[in-house]
């Protein structure tokens, strides 16, 4: 119970009016930057970082982490209202959140997103509080083969568990993998597919692609459907919030599953993005009526948001203990730590107890205060939908363009974003799912590097993926998931499955 005492000490450090005021300021700023698509968490935190230089480290980190929470909460808002994910892990939230908003259930979707963010983060913070030392040693077990196995698991779960036609998923994923290869290849140090262009040198930025694929293509579709997105009754009251909360216990399995997936992938350095997709896919798989997913089902919001925020929070642990940031925003926070002379590493927890426990306590407080704050502002955000589409659309396009530009200060990225908008439109028309494409674009490079490093390390022997219990079980699970439909079919044939499911098919 040493952790508990330290945590109480952390709270004692925090509970002053000054800190609480800083917290509120941080959260409001965070929500604000989170709502602007593309500006998002990393840029927002980077811009606001210098504000904190004059503060003492504890106040500063409280403020920064509150900006971080605010941005996490805020990211869900654009995903749901406009189908534009602000951070990589908000992509899966759009699958059901956006349809809900279109059906006039924006307030419900937002409440669900915020609440599940809160739950996911809370579970992860509890984990950090009590298991920090153990978890950081777990993260050290991950070498190239283990990383590859995790990525493989994500890819396979997409193919095996997805509802879309398998060949379409594979086509979409392959295209994503192809584009992920553009730019510098870390392993050989050579350029690939850049065709002599210095713009392509950087590779294709994932967020630029996502803003185009989801945001711009959606505008195109809506225009075609004669401005169908219109002021739906977006009324919200305490009643909506309470009714969503009342239903929460019904979804405890989904929430728990997503929290576990999120925490597990979050502490795997760099695994945070995969979490929301996996949370979503598994929720869909285990639902009684998977067909209703993607059409505005509240579980489709709960599952990815819980997983994303559990992993986003858990990702702070490898950052603190190992110095490896799990997300773009965490990377900026890392820079902040270094400004105050706090070097992330195994000794941070020993030498800077005040700071670490202050940070952990601020995670609890920031989360609670943040939830209250965003819930009270839901009506304001939801009312954006009442503005006629003709007025909102140009604003969305402009803010998409600003967002795409701001990521790397490159005009080229705006053209790229528009190009992806058209690609997204075509994909939607011919029924090719976008999610596998984005997933492959964001993880393709890492998966490739991890695979090739594994091969260098083992001298080209594939057995390295079964060389210990950890990597072996992940790889095996991945392959089982890939062939899940066939395996399930076999089980059904020998009559060894839940009777209801077999007969209902």
């Amino acid at each position: 119970m040493e952790a508990f005492g330290l945590l109480l000490h952390g709270f004692a450090v925090l509970l002053t009016w000054k800190t609480l005021a800083l917290m509120m300021v941080g959260l409001v700023l965070g929500i604000f930057v989170g709502v602007l698509p593309g500006l998002g968490g990393p840029n927002g935190v980077a811009i606001l970082l210098p504000l904190t230089f004059t503060m003492d480290p504890t106040s500063a980190i409280v403020m920064l982490s509150c900006i971080y929470w605010g941005a996490l909460f805020g990211g869900a808002i654009t995903s749901i209202l406009f189908n534009i994910p602000g951070e990589a892990w908000s992509v899966a939230t759009t699958f059901d959140g956006y349809p809900m908003a279109q059906q006039g259930r924006a307030a419900e979707a937002l409440t669900a997103a915020f609440t599940s963010s809160f739950i996911g983060s809370l579970v992860a913070v509890l984990l950090i509080t009590f298991l920090a030392p153990m978890i950081s040693s777990f993260a050290l077990k991950f070498g190239p083969p283990e990383f590859f196995a995790v990525y493989l698991l994500t890819f396979c779960s997409f193919v095996g568990l997805g509802r879309e036609a398998k060949h379409k998923t594979v086509i979409s994923m392959s295209l994503g993998l192809l584009l992920a290869g553009v730019g510098m290849d870390t392993v050989s140090g050579q350029l690939r597919m850049t065709f002599g262009s210095s713009e392509l040198l950087r590779g294709i930025n994932f967020l630029v692609a996502v803003i185009g694929l989801f945001g711009i293509s959606e505008i195109l579709l809506t225009m075609e459907e004669r401005l169908a997105l219109r002021g739906h009754a977006a009324s919200i009251s305490l009643r909506v919030v309470l009714s969503v909360w009342k239903d929460l216990p019904k979804y405890w399995v989904t929430l728990l599953r997503s929290s576990v997936i999120g925490c597990w992938l979050g502490i795997t350095p760099g695994g945070a993005i995969a979490a929301s997709f996996m949370g979503y896919n598994l929720a869909k798989r285990f639902a009684k009526d998977p067909e209703s997913f993607g059409k505005g089902r509240i579980e489709g919001v709960f599952a990815p948001e819980t997983a994303a925020h559990a992993s986003g929070t858990a990702a702070l642990l490898p950052m603190l203990a190992l110095g490896i940031p799990g997300s773009g925003t965490a990377a900026i926070l890392l820079g902040g730590l270094m400004v105050w002379g706090l070097n992330p590493g195994p000794l941070l927890f020993v030498e800077h107890k005040d700071f670490v426990w202050g940070l952990i306590a601020s995670m609890y407080l920031g989360n609670v205060v943040g939830l209250v704050l965003v819930l009270t502002t839901v009506p304001i955000f939801a009312s954006i939908l009442r503005v006629p589409f003709a007025a909102v659309a140009p604003m969305i396009v402009v803010s998409c363009a600003i967002g795409a530009y701001a990521i790397q200060n490159a005009m080229f990225d705006i053209w790229l974003m528009l190009g992806f908008g058209v690609v997204g439109y075509v994909f939607k028309k011919i029924g090719i799912p976008l999610a596998p494409f984005t997933l492959a674009l964001v993880l393709g490079n890492r998966a490739e590097d991890a695979f090739r490093l594994s091969m260098i390390g083992s001298g080209g022997d594939l057995k390295v993926f079964w060389s210990n219990g950890l990597v072996g079980s992940i790889t095996t699970l991945a392959i089982v998931l890939l062939f899940w439909p066939i395996i399930e079919g076999l089980f059904a044939r020998v009559g060894w499955t839940q009777g209801t499911r077999a007969t209902s098919r």
Partner: protein
């Protein structure tokens, strides 16, 4: 050291630079990922400049580590005549154009100052061999590939690995990671047998007793004698030459402005970074990261760069890393 002192004196006696001052926030461009040595240096400068009020405009650090740092180089190249961007450069300015045929030449930028020289140290896991001799013997005896982690491919870490192979006759499998921090963690987790990280990249895991420094790739030992771990200081690490492996490499840490800025603008930054080297933050940072102090600017800097370029080119050619 002497040269630096003379230079410092020369600088102080120069007339005060009145005139140009940045009118927009200044961007420090880092050609590497978050948490790496360049990022840490940028953060130190950010803190030193703002805490000591050395400049009116705020400083923003922007990480442009894409394409192994080529992103930052191209960004600087395309920002001609913009005096609000400062690149923190290291050996990639020589190596990337050679290995990946990036259309970049450091002579197109405006040199400001060389602010430090960075060391390379041979590290292994604290459970591994205790001396260079044992380490080399273990590498030679290994049946499975003996893994050396490092940052990037065909760059300083890779070059050092090749020369280590040439001098010792041992064979390593070089694993290129994305950052020095990752290479450090992978060594701690026993996924590699060794790495050749800069002191700053392995500092925290060394203090935690998870890795062991075997030797430093310089002709003399590091000068800092205060204890870093319970028993050792930087000065306690032998040079590789002492241990019978004569491989040496020092890496510059320098600042550049984009091309075509005015002499006044250049002078402002020369003065600014000179002031930075006088701050407590800088001195503390240099010692903590075991960097070699140096301050070169103007003609001396260009001469240093030309010589350094030639050395790097010959190393790259000898290692077989120059793209045809």
């Amino acid at each position: 050291m002497k040269a630096a002192v003379v230079l410092t004196a020369a600088l102080c006696s120069a007339p005060a630079f009145a005139g140009w001052e940045p009118t927009k926030p200044v961007e420090i461009v880092v050609a590497a990922g978050a948490g790496g040595a360049s990022d840490q240096m940028a953060r130190m400068m950010q803190a030193a400049i703002q805490k000591n009020n050395l400049m009116k405009q705020p400083i923003v650090v922007s990480l442009k580590g894409g394409a192994s740092g080529a992103e930052a180089l191209m960004y600087m190249k395309s920002s001609e005549a913009d005096p609000n961007k400062v690149l923190i450069a290291y050996s990639l300015i020589y190596m990337l154009p050679l290995s990946a045929k990036i259309p970049f030449n450091w002579r197109e930028l405006t040199p400001v100052s060389v602010i430090a020289l960075d060391q390379f140290v041979l590290w292994d896991n604290s459970a591994g061999p205790k001396t260079v001799k044992e380490f080399v013997a273990a590498a030679k005896a290994a049946s499975a590939p003996f893994k050396m982690g490092g940052t990037g491919s065909k760059r300083e870490d890779h070059v050092l690995t090749v020369f280590l192979e040439q001098k010792t006759g041992a064979k390593f499998s070089y694993l290129p990671y994305k950052s020095g921090g990752e290479a450090a963690t992978q060594l701690v987790g026993n996924h590699t047998e060794s790495n050749v990280n800069n002191p700053s990249e392995n500092l925290e895991v060394w203090r935690a007793g998870q890795v062991r420094p075997l030797c430093v790739f310089d002709k003399e030992r590091i000068s800092y004698t205060s204890k870093v771990t319970d028993t050792q200081s930087w000065a306690d690490i032998p040079t590789c030459k002492e241990e019978g492996v004569d491989v040496q490499y020092l890496m510059l840490r320098a600042t550049f402005l984009p091309g075509k800025v005015t002499a006044e603008q250049q002078a402002f930054y020369v003065d600014l970074f000179h002031k930075v080297t006088q701050t407590a933050e800088y001195k503390d940072y240099m010692e903590k990261q075991a960097l070699k102090p140096i301050f070169l600017t103007g003609k001396d800097m260009v001469q240093f760069l030309e010589e350094d370029d030639a050395v790097n080119k010959s190393l790259m050619t000898e290692a077989g890393f120059v793209a045809k």
